[in-house]
C-alpha cells in the first residue's frame, strides 16, 4: 500500500544498515558470544523480510527488537552466556607496570567477567547497554519493552552485584 515498502530491496538494505549493528550489540549483551549474536541478527531480519508487507518502515526498529526479545533460544542447544574482554587498552597506557600489577589486573578482569556472566539476562542487558553503549535509560526501556523505572532498578542492582563480586578477595 505504501510506496515506501520494506519489501523493496533498497529500502530493506537501508534498514539493515541502520539497525543491524545496534541489534547485534544488544543480542551480544543479552545472550553472549557463544549463542551467535550474528546469526540471531540474521534470523530477526529474515523475520522482518517475511513480514515486510505488514510493517511500516517507521515500525521496523521496534519490530526487530521485539523479535530479538522473543527469540526463544532452544533450551537444549543454549549455551552459557560468555562475554569476552579486550585486555590490551589498559596495558598500553601504562608501560611501567610490574608483573605483579598485571597479575592483579588480570585477576580483577576475570572476576568482573564472572560477575557479568552471572548477572541475570535482564540486569546484564540493561547494565551493559548503559555503561558500554552509553544508551540512556529511556532508550533501553524502549528496546526491552519495559518501564524506565525498571531499567534503573536493573542497572543499579547489576552494579551492586558486580561491586560485591570484584570486592571479594
Amino acid at each position: 500500500m505504501s510506496g515506501d515498502n520494506i519489501c523493496k530491496e533498497e529500502r530493506f538494505n537501508e534498514i539493515f544498515r541502520l539497525y543491524s549493528r545496534e541489534l547485534h550489540d544488544f543480542l551480544y549483551y543479552k545472550y553472549g558470544i557463544d549463542n551467535n549474536p550474528k546469526d540471531l541478527v540474521q534470523e530477526a531480519f529474515l523475520k522482518l523480510w517475511d513480514n515486510c508487507h505488514k510493517i511500516l518502515p517507521g515500525k521496523a526498529r521496534s519490530f526487530l527488537f521485539t523479535v530479538a526479545n522473543r527469540l526463544m533460544l532452544n533450551e537444549l542447544s543454549r549455551k552459557k552466556t560468555a562475554l569476552n574482554y579486550s585486555s590490551k587498552e589498559s596495558v598500553k597506557d601504562q608501560n611501567s607496570e610490574s608483573p605483579e600489577y598485571i597479575m592483579e589486573e588480570k585477576e580483577y578482569m576475570e572476576k568482573l567477567k564472572a560477575g557479568i556472566e552471572n548477572l541475570t539476562e535482564e540486569q546484564r542487558t540493561a547494565f551493559l547497554l548503559n555503561r558500554i553503549e552509553g544508551k540512556r535509560h529511556q532508550e533501553i526501556a524502549e528496546m526491552l519493552g519495559i518501564s524506565r523505572k525498571a531499567v534503573e532498578k536493573r542497572i543499579y542492582t547489576a552494579l551492586r552485584k558486580l561491586k560485591e563480586q570484584v570486592g571479594k578477595i
Partner: protein, 303 residues
C-alpha cells in the same frame, strides 16, 4: 547522603556539581570508576555490517522468493466474490418464477409472500412470482393442493382445466388428467373453465369429469382428508382412486377384468399400504396380488 544514594544518583546522572566533587574524592568512587572503566572492555565484538548484509541477501535468495499470500486480503477477495455471486443469485431468483414440486408419497407446505399457505399433495407442482406478489396473486398448479388464502386482492389458481379465483378463503384444487375438482371450505370461490363460470360457496364442491359438471354439497369439514394422511373419495371413478393410490405409494397398479369407471366412495390411509389396498379393493369386490417387481395386480371376479 550515604554511599548507596550517591551511587544511585551518579548512575542516573543526577548528582549536582557539588555532590559530584565531594563523591569523586571518596574511595568508593575510585572503586566505582575502575569498575565502570573495566566494564567498557567488554564491548561487543566488531560487526561488519556490509558482510552481514551480503550474507543475509544470500540467505534470502537461497530460500527462494517466497510466495507471500496475505490471507486477510485473499479472504476479503473471496468474501467479496461470494457476496456478488450470492447477492446476484438472490436478486436474480427474485425475478424468476418460484417453483415448488412434490414427488410420490410426499406433501409440502409452502408459505407465500403474503403468508397465504399452500399445501401440496403428492406429485404436484406450483409456480409463482415472488415479485409484486401482493398486487398480483396468481400461481399455476399442476396436481392437487389445498389453499388457505389471506384476505386481499384477487387470488388466482390457474390449471390446465380452468382458473379458480378467490378473495380469501380455504379451498382445495385437484386437477389430474381428465379430473378437475375444486372444494371450497370457507368463503366464496369462482371457478372458471373454458365451458362456464361457477360460483362456489363454502362446503360445496364442483367436479368436472369428461365434460360433465357435478356440483355437490358436503358435510361440515374443515380440511381435505389428504392433509390427515388420507385420501377420501365420494362417487369418484375407480381409476381416479387407483391413480391417487399410485401417487401416494409410488407403485404401479395393473387392473385385470376390473371396471375402472365404477364410482367409488370411501377413503384410504397414506401410512399403511396393505390396509389402504384392502380399503379400496374390498368395496369393489376386487382381489389384489403383489408381484415380485412390486406391481399390484387387481383382478375382478371371474365369471
Amino acid at each position: 547522603m550515604n554511599t548507596d544514594q550517591y551511587i544511585e544518583k551518579w548512575l542516573n546522572g543526577t548528582l549536582t556539581e557539588q555532590e559530584r566533587a565531594r563523591f569523586e574524592k571518596t574511595d568508593s568512587f575510585k572503586e566505582l570508576k575502575k569498575l565502570s572503566d573495566s566494564v567498557r572492555q567488554f564491548k561487543a565484538p566488531d560487526y561488519d555490517t556490509e558482510a552481514e548484509l551480503q550474507r543475509l541477501n544470500r540467505d534470502k535468495s537461497k530460500r527462494g522468493k517466497q510466495i507471500k499470500i496475505d490471507w486477510r486480503r485473499t479472504l476479503l477477495k473471496v468474501a467479496a466474490m461470494l457476496t456478488i455471486v450470492v447477492g446476484g443469485y438472490l436478486i436474480f431468483s427474485y425475478y424468476l418464477p418460484a417453483t415448488v414440486e412434490t414427488s410420490f408419497a410426499e406433501s409440502k407446505e409452502v408459505l407465500l409472500p403474503d403468508s397465504s399457505v399452500v399445501i401440496l399433495n403428492s406429485v404436484s407442482k406450483i409456480t409463482y412470482n415472488k415479485r409484486r406478489w401482493d398486487r398480483n396473486r396468481n400461481l399455476e398448479l399442476v396436481g392437487e393442493a389445498f389453499f388457505k388464502v389471506k384476505k386481499g386482492s384477487k387470488f388466482d389458481v390457474k390449471t390446465s382445466a380452468g382458473t379458480v379465483s378467490v378473495l380469501g378463503t380455504q379451498f382445495n384444487v385437484k386437477q389430474r388428467k381428465e379430473f378437475f375438482e375444486v372444494v371450497c371450505y370457507e368463503g366464496l370461490v369462482n371457478v372458471k373453465t373454458p365451458v362456464n363460470d361457477n360460483e362456489l360457496p363454502a362446503f360445496y364442491s364442483i367436479r368436472f369429469i369428461d365434460g360433465e359438471v357435478i356440483k355437490s354439497q358436503f358435510d361440515n369439514k374443515f380440511e381435505p382428508a389428504w392433509l390427515d394422511n388420507e385420501s377420501a373419495f365420494s362417487s369418484v371413478p375407480f381409476h381416479e382412486v387407483t391413480s391417487e393410490f399410485e401417487r401416494q405409494y409410488e407403485v404401479e397398479i395393473v387392473p385385470q377384468n376390473v371396471d375402472m369407471e365404477v364410482l367409488f366412495t370411501g377413503r384410504f390411509t397414506h401410512d399403511d399400504m396393505i390396509l389402504a389396498l384392502k380399503s379400496i379393493t374390498f368395496p369393489q369386490n376386487v382381489t389384489y396380488r403383489i408381484t415380485e417387481d412390486q406391481k399390484i395386480i387387481l383382478s375382478g371376479e371371474v365369471e
